[in-house]
Amino acid sequence: MIETAAANDAPQDEVAGASGVLPPLARAAESRVATVRGEAMLEMPLDLYIPPDALEVFFDTFEGPLDLLLYLIRKANIDILDIPMARLTEQYLEYVELMRRRNLELAAEYLLMAALLMEIKSRMLLPRPRTVLDDEDDPRAELVRRLVEYENMKLAAHKLDALPVLGRDFLTLEVWIEQAAVQRLPQVRTEDLIAAWQSLLMHARMTQHHKVTREELSVREFMSAILRRLHGGQFANFTSLFEVGKGVAVVVVSFLALLELVRESLIEVTQSEPYAPIYVKLAHAQSE
């Protein structure tokens, strides 16, 4: 934006020359309000002289007819709220004609604006009641509103462009995050287990509801523990599977676990003769 702004300023210096409040072009144009456009171009004012090579660049710097109008207004120090329509229209038409003569591709917007300016100018010539100062009545009001709004936005664009912008004027930081060597594993809470169980309840073909009690869980836990003890296939003394020191409850649960394991044919309990030591082994340990 700064670059384009500079480019936009350049022709201003070239064109404005040493003119005072009104550039000679404007004065000259004013004196020939009624003349034909073609004739006006016959005497191209000196301050409008632009090296032919630069002409295209010059017109390229305008973003459209509003931009060109603003340039003419600001260059001539015209009060935007009291635009001399005849003068402005004349100047505008001269520039447009210049573009056309240079075989520059002229966007339709420039011609539309030319028509609008001429319309406003002619409406200005109509007699108006002096007492009414309401700008609603001023044929220029809408054009002025548009020019003011466009100039506002043009300046806003400059201001925005002057703000520091990420990537152009400053950078974000990229500090490397030292990743832990361990892979991040899913966390499971007991609630997740309940949820999984409930999902099973929804989908499993159930017959009846009853509870998994804590007692049953502890039996299951001891079943696993006993199987682990017997892992490897060796015989274990029946009594060694009971940790008497942990209390009656543990003994009872251990015994229930043993019974359950027997029931599920997971262990074999053998006794060579009555009152002989009882041995326990995995039901199918030979391949261990």
């Binding site: 509003l66 966007a107 917007e109 806003a156 925005l160 930081l173 990229e174």
Partner: protein, 201 residues
């Protein structure tokens, strides 16, 4: 338990390593224990002050807190990067300004203000940058899209809200006709606003 200095150390590490601005809610999540928003803000302010005079600053943006390099150091840092991001053309910047200051606007609104056709590429490049997006459609024939600026736009310009945009020039205020002009401008704007706008789809 973490003492305030430990909290600051964690905040600093997280902000230095974060890819995006971190909101207070994000920063709270860093800690197992509950840390009040006021405490966090105070510690962040202290952290920011602690970084005064360095090449990097902690800033508070639309979407949260972020460390960024200071613009004064860009002259050094750009010697390291090979591709400098191109400046936007006047057409893009004017379109952006209109969307930023007059949002939500349709392409037609932008064209009315600029007095020229707005090319699709201009809109697209702003969308691609993540600076504008469609927030709805105006309920007129063709149902044109309404554009607005994004949080990302504010972040990238180092702003917390649209209110921090540079104020507009009061071009007409010093002149006689000002009151009438501005009031007519206002009423026109109000009329435009009143035009039925369908909610974002």
């Amino acid at each position: 338990m973490l003492n305030p200095n430990d909290v600051k150390t964690v905040l600093e590490a997280a902000l230095l390593a974060a890819q995006e601005p971190l909101a207070l809610a994000d920063l709270k999540r860093l800690f197992e224990e509950e840390i009040g928003a006021d405490t966090l803000r105070r510690l962040l302010d202290e952290l920011r002050e602690g970084w005064q005079g360095r090449g990097v600053e902690l800033v508070n943006l639309a979407s949260g807190w972020r460390f960024q390099t200071r613009p004064e150091f860009q002259q050094y840092l750009e010697r390291l990067s090979h591709d400098k991001p191109p400046r936007y053309s006047r057409a893009v910047m004017e379109t952006l300004a209109i969307i930023a200051y007059r949002q939500p606007v349709t392409r037609g609104d932008i064209e009315n203000i600029r007095g020229v056709t707005v090319s699709t590429n201009v809109i697209k490049s702003l969308e691609a940058r993540g600076w504008i997006d469609t927030v709805g459609f105006r309920d007129v024939p063709g149902r044109p899209a309404l554009y607005a600026t994004t949080k990302n736009f504010l972040d990238d310009l180092g702003l917390r809200s649209l209110q921090e945009l540079p104020p507009l020039e009061q071009i007409s205020s010093t002149l006689d006709l000002a009151p009438q002009i501005s009031s007519s401008e206002q009423s026109t704007a109000a009329a435009e606003d009143a035009a039925p706008v369908s909610a974002a789809d």
